[in-house]
């Protein structure tokens, strides 16, 4: 058994890193079905990831050759940016979590499978219509909450439809489950019901979160709140894609206790426009450092599927980078220099392309089963991870220079062009990796339903179901 030392000095959890536990595929049955709901969800998610990545490559080209924008007018850089960012958030990041919910509520099989597929189609339809509306100049003016006009209603309705499928699955499956699980699922359903309404409300121009007056960005309390929500999601994800190890219950308990304490701290900080120069803000945010060792420890309490070792290592590595750098970037002096620069773009990449993508791939492998793992390609793994790593590094360098000379990225110069050229190459590597995964998923689904008819319109299969 191999071990590894993390930055914190903690001994790497063997079960998480190196033990190819023979976990029977939780999605085994579903994976062998044609048009498996979970594999279809993976296809939608990776499809949007790929589209978004290629748009990102286009945006990187525009920064190097801005005159190319004349070819695209009026679909300018500014109109493509929300498409790129929102497809990452609501497509790639969200759809694997949707698949996880369908799995947890057991809506991925039986009579509800067709409605789960419909929910996925509605979700993607909303993203497609949303993309068209952003390109057409409809936006609320709020980053990541750009839903405006028709799609501001349609997307929450699509989420509500998904909720209906989950509720129906809960009602039809509740008899076979224990009391505790049933209550947990019911609470989950109640909370999920708030999501579409909260999303609609959050897109309103009238609502704006607290602002750090010294940076114009989020406050420490807001960031603490956001990270704790992510921690909560991380707590829940292993259920359904791995098996709990009873002997390692201790870390689960410790983690939940710490989480509760952090929640109280968050409540105590309140919601106000407070500067990051206040010690209470950056010290409170520093409390998140405890999760650098604790989250891997939590994950050691679960047995994971084989064939996922490299992705588990990537999750741990990015997590170990993400939390400390996130905190450092909030510190007085550092935030003053890097706010509004490429440095923060680099940090966003650490979160989305580094940590979140590694985690989501791990999740999708768990959901779709280890057989015929579509994420097994070594070159795609290396292209993605190396592309992200170099991207983050050069953006931090660019941000640091830009902090001292704000005109650095606005006026073309050799250093800036070289950095942006490298960024373009990294983006292309990442886009190629996602295209490889999409192609593998396509082949897998085609093999499942037969190549002659095509899986999208396989009437014979649909009749058989």
């Amino acid at each position: 058994m191999e071990t590894m030392t993390l930055q914190s000095g903690m001994e790497a959890p063997a079960a998480l890193l190196n033990e190819p536990a023979r976990v029977s595929s939780p999605a085994g049955a579903a994976a062998s079905e044609p048009l498996s709901v979970l594999t279809l969800a993976a296809l939608h998610a990776v499809g949007w990831l790929t589209v978004s990545n290629f748009i990102g490559v286009g945006l990187a080209i525009l920064l190097l050759w801005p005159r190319a924008g004349a070819w695209l007018a009026p679909w300018s850089y500014g109109r493509w940016m929300p498409v790129h960012m929102n497809l990452q958030l609501y497509g790639w990041t969200s759809l694997p979590l949707v698949a996880w919910l369908l799995k947890i509520y057991r809506a991925d099989g039986g009579g509800l499978a067709r409605w789960s597929r419909t929910a996925l189609v509605l979700w993607s339809l909303a993203l497609g219509l949303g993309s068209l509306s952003w390109l057409d100049g409809h936006s609320s003016g709020k980053l990541f909450l750009d839903w405006s006009g028709y799609v501001r209603v349609f997307f929450p309705l699509a989420i509500l439809f998904l909720w209906g499928v989950l509720a129906a699955a809960f009602l039809s499956n509740r008899r076979g489950e224990g009391n505790a699980l049933r209550w947990l699922k019911l609470i989950g359903l109640v909370l999920l019901l708030l999501v579409p309404f909260a999303l609609y409300a959050a897109c309103s121009p009238d609502i704006y979160p607290p602002v750090n007056p010294d940076s114009g960005g989020p406050t420490g309390a807001s960031q603490l709140e956001s990270v704790l929500i992510i921690v909560l999601i991380l707590f829940l994800l292993p259920y359904g894609v791995s098996r709990r190890i009873a002997a390692r219950r201790r870390w689960l308990v410790v983690s939940w206790v710490v989480f509760a304490a952090e929640g109280l701290l968050c409540l105590g900080l309140g919601r106000a426009d407070v500067s990051n120069n206040r010690p209470t803000q950056f010290i409170s945010l520093g409390s998140l450092l405890v999760w650098v060792p604790l989250m891997p420890a939590y994950y050691t309490s679960f047995q994971w599927q084989e064939n996922t070792r490299r992705w588990r290592m990537a999750v741990l590595a990015w997590w170990a980078v993400l939390i400390p750098t996130g905190w450092c970037l909030f510190l007085p002096g550092v935030l003053d220099r890097l706010k509004f620069t490429d440095g923060l773009v680099g940090h966003s990449l650490t979160a989305m392309a580094g940590f979140a993508t590694s985690l989501l791939v791990l999740l999708l492998i768990g959901l779709t089963g280890p057989e015929d793992n579509v994420f097994a390609s070594r070159w795609a793994f290396v292209a993605w991870q190396a592309g992200t790593g170099v991207y983050v590094l050069i953006m931090l360098i660019a941000g640091w220079i830009e902090g001292a000379d704000p005109a650095f990225t606005m006026v073309p110069n050799t250093t800036r062009n070289v950095i942006y050229g490298i960024r373009l190459c990294c983006g292309m590597a990442m886009a190629a990796a996602s295209a490889e995964w999409l192609w593998r998923l396509h082949l897998r689904l085609r093999a499942a339903v037969g190549s002659s008819t095509g899986y999208a319109f396989s009437t014979a299969r649909a009749r058989a179901q």
């Binding site: 920064l63 109109r79 067709r114 209603v153 602002v211």
Partner: protein, 641 residues
């Protein structure tokens, strides 16, 4: 060199087919459909006088299409060469200063020759294209044809030069058809697939040509649409590239998905394009969808009768090709132009009716299986429409600015919506951080309470360009307008894209009004205080000596201050005061009693911070040594070096 019988196309000679298809398309598109009309316009034939001439062309085309299918007098290659010769003769005759009757005869000749050429070519295409890549050859030929027609030097050429291009196309076609030996046609290797019924393809192609012709006529005769679609070299190159890519894609899809799916895709593109053309502000997506749809079906128009029709005799193939070109090609085109002339748009009901031709078979086939899911999706789509209509709020929609309900909004408020719609927030912040270098660059710092009251605050999170919260105090409306239209004209090396299209319908002026309003009450006095207090670091002067001041001047100043500068010559009449000749004019903003060193320092401050209330912008982003080098350069110019 003769080819062995029974093997009409030797390996590697598919280029002949590609050239013939490309030549035919070039002739039809750039001359018969476009350049000839320009020539008539040039001669002064328009309006009612035009109708009989165009009717003669259509009549000739229909007749020749139907008759060519029955011609057996000569070999196919000879008939093809004869038709090409007729085409060439018509192009040459169009160069002469003829009267209406003469052009009527030329028009008839174009129709007869083109009708014969197209039907003969597709009915016997296997003489020049064969093997597994025959479909790709069709795609390449059509794509190249469309691409050539969109080369700006050809598209925008006078009619005489277009006629010469058409002659060149005929010559290429003739050269490619030489040494063709009549033989049993070569086999074409295509994947086995259930062939689309002839009647359905004929109806589909007629609808597509109808839509295509109507859309082309509408764009060509509407300046607002034309400027947003294929006016200007960039648009034309893009259109040509889309045509070529779509044509190759069409060939690829025809081999894998069959004729029906390609025609349905073509319809989806063309129908969406026609609907988008109802609103000139949406012409940009139409400019991509329209050529994509046209190329998709154009490849099928050649490939179906020549390669994809179910096994038929040569005679049947010729007759069916004749019907396709007579009905879909000539009649469909005439109907489309007629619709465009009378209605000036493609009505949505017509698009809906045409959709039935394409999608009803699929709806019936898959609807039986997926009707529940389809109904559920339909219910959600309609429910969203009803709720959105009920709530009726689209705070950031640019369309609202044009509707009556929002017409009362001030230009600044509309400009703010434009700012949001264009995604300016993705590159520009509106938040000057207090006690930071932002203040000197873009300040003064704003009031957080006032920012919070905005609906919504447009703070942004990434600066790919400067902060704009005080831009109204630092740049004049004229500078903002020039910068939005042609960023690099007034900001050397700017990476901002051009927003010239916003000025076609007033949105640009609204945006300028909004940007000019971005200033706080004390911003002007604060900037003056900053400028007065500014001192370059002592090292800057020494470093400035090593810089090329003349080069910096040409990059940052000459556009306004040089008598041949771009901004000065293009926008001279719009300046509140023409930028002075810095070598000779008196400095109005620098006291005369200052010493040379003081004057130099004052000049450096003006270069750095601009002159508030005038069109002179600051150059806040230039480092001190470059500011000093520019000041030295101007002083040297005044002293005659």
């Amino acid at each position: 060199m003769l080819r062995p019988r029974g093997n009409a196309v030797r390996r590697g000679e598919n280029w002949r087919g590609i050239v013939l298809i490309a030549s035919t398309y070039v002739y039809f598109l750039i001359f018969a459909q476009f350049g000839f009309l320009k020539r008539l316009d040039q001669i002064g034939i328009a309006g009612e006088a035009l109708k009989p001439i165009m009717a003669a062309m259509a009549l000739g085309g229909i007749l020749a299409s139907l008759l060519a299918a029955r011609m057996k007098a000569a070999t196919a290659a000879r008939r093809l060469r004869l038709a090409l010769g007729g085409c060439a003769a018509a192009a040459a005759l169009s160069l002469l200063p003829l009267h209406s009757a003469g052009f009527l005869a030329v028009s008839l000749l174009i129709g007869l020759s083109l009708g014969g050429l197209t039907v003969t070519l597709v009915a016997h295409l296997r003489l020049w294209l064969a093997g597994g890549r025959a479909l790709l050859g069709v795609g390449a030929g059509a794509g190249i044809g469309y691409f050539v027609c969109n080369i700006p030097q050809i598209f925008a050429a006078p009619p005489q030069r277009i006629a010469l291009v058409a002659l060149g196309a005929c010559a290429c076609g003739l050269a490619a058809s030489l040494q063709t030996e009549e033989a049993a046609e070569a086999p074409v290797e295509l994947p086995e697939r259930k062939a689309a019924p002839f009647s359905l393809v004929l109806a589909s192609l007629t609808a597509l040509v109808w839509l295509d012709s109507a859309a082309f006529f509408i764009i060509q005769n509407s300046p607002a649409l034309k400027s947003g679609t294929w006016e200007g070299a960039a648009h034309l190159w893009r259109t040509g590239a889309v045509h070529l890519a779509a044509a190759l894609g069409s060939a690829w899809l025809l081999a894998r998905r069959g004729t029906s799916q390609v025609l349905a895709l073509a319809f989806a593109c063309l129908a969406a394009g026609c609907l988008l053309l109802l609103d000139p502000a949406r012409s940009a997506p139409a400019a991509v969808l329209y050529p994509a749809g046209v190329s998709l079906y154009s490849v099928a128009l050649v490939a179906f009768p020549s390669l994809l029709m179910p096994s038929v005799t040569q005679e049947q193939r010729s007759r069916r090709a004749g019907w396709i070109y007579a009905v879909a090609g000539w009649v469909g085109s005439a109907l489309g132009i007629g619709m465009a002339q009378h209605l000036h748009r493609v009505p949505p009901w017509f698009v809906g009716a045409a959709a039935l031709v394409f999608f009803l078979p699929w709806v019936l086939r898959y609807g039986r299986v997926y009707w529940r899911e389809g109904a559920a999706i339909g219910v959600v789509l309609i429910a969203a429409l009803a709720i959105e209509h009920m709530l009726g709020d689209d705070p950031a929609a640019p369309r609202a600015a044009e509707s009556g309900a929002a017409a009362k909004l001030a230009a600044m408020a509309r400009g703010r919506r434009v700012y949001i719609a264009e995604g300016c927030i993705n590159c520009h912040s509106q938040y000057v951080r207090p006690h930071s270098p932002d203040v000197q660059m873009w300040g003064p710092a704003g009031n957080p309470e006032a920012i919070r009251r905005e609906d919504p605050p447009l703070i942004g999170n990434r600066r790919q360009g400067p902060d704009l919260s005080q831009v109204g105090a630092r740049r004049s409306p004229l500078w903002l307008k020039i910068h939005l239209i042609d960023p690099r004209a007034v900001s050397y090396g700017s990476i901002m894209p051009s927003y010239a299209y916003l000025f076609r319908d007033g949105r640009g002026d609204d945006l300028v009004a909004y940007l000019a309003s971005l200033k706080s009450p004390d911003s002007l006095s604060e900037i003056l205080k900053q400028a007065a207090a500014w001192q370059p670091p002592p090292a800057a002067l020494a470093q400035a000596g090593q810089l090329n001041g003349a080069k910096l001047f040409s990059e940052d100043c000459a556009t306004c201050h040089d008598s041949h500068g771009y901004a000065r010559t293009r926008w001279g009449a719009d300046f509140s005061r023409l930028p002075p000749d810095l070598a000779a004019a008196r400095f109005r903003h620098i006291p005369r009693n200052q010493s040379t060193a003081e004057r130099r320092a004052s000049l450096a401050r003006i270069i750095k911070f601009g002159l508030a209330g005038t069109d002179m912008p600051g150059h806040e982003y230039l480092p001190p040594d470059q500011i000093e080098a520019l000041a030295s350069e101007v002083m040297a110019m005044r002293q005659g070096r």
